[in-house]
Symmetry: C2
Subunit: 101 residues, 2 copies
């Protein structure tokens, strides 16, 4: 598994629109066969900060996700909402094991 964490900081006025666009992208993304999870969470102490917790079954699944229409629509919709460039960190799973996602 490849776990991708994306840290996002949006402009305060764009928080509702970002939530909506990102939930829609997540709903579509979890339909992809290479995606095990696509959680979207919002900081308790700062609602302008979000984390995307994306769990892929392979590196190829990341490339496949980037090629979807829903990813492109999300990327373009949220581009003007960023308060700063988003950052991405990759992880591998310790628990659960590959078979248990």
């Amino acid at each position: 598994m490849v776990i991708v964490l994306v840290d996002v900081h949006v402009k305060p006025e764009d928080v509702p629109a970002f939530r909506e666009a990102t939930a829609e992208n997540a709903r579509n993304s979890v339909q992809e066969p290479g995606i095990a999870r696509f959680d979207v969470v919002q900081r308790g102490d700062d609602p302008t900060r979000f984390l995307l917790y994306e769990v892929y079954r392979s590196e190829e699944a990341i490339a496949a996700h980037k090629a979807t229409a829903h990813y492109a629509a999300w990327r373009d919709a949220v581009a003007p909402m960023m308060a700063q460039p988003r950052s991405m960190t990759k992880y591998v799973n310790v628990y659960p094991a590959d078979a248990d996602w």
Copy 2:
């Protein structure tokens, strides 16, 4: 839901022992009724850095977890393994909705 992210930086020599102790804690924690997920992931570019992605059904579930024997055993086992104090950040869920964890 209350999502707790714990960033952990361990001493290089303790990486295997930390993986083992933390996977064991996760296996026990997912049996708790108030815990929806307890993922443990390791940074791809720095194996001394871990993230715990803990999803609780309530604040009370966090307190219940802290009262378990497996939490206490984990806390004590990993205390000498820390390269720096671990940090914790709380989030709320945007996707999936409460009913879908």
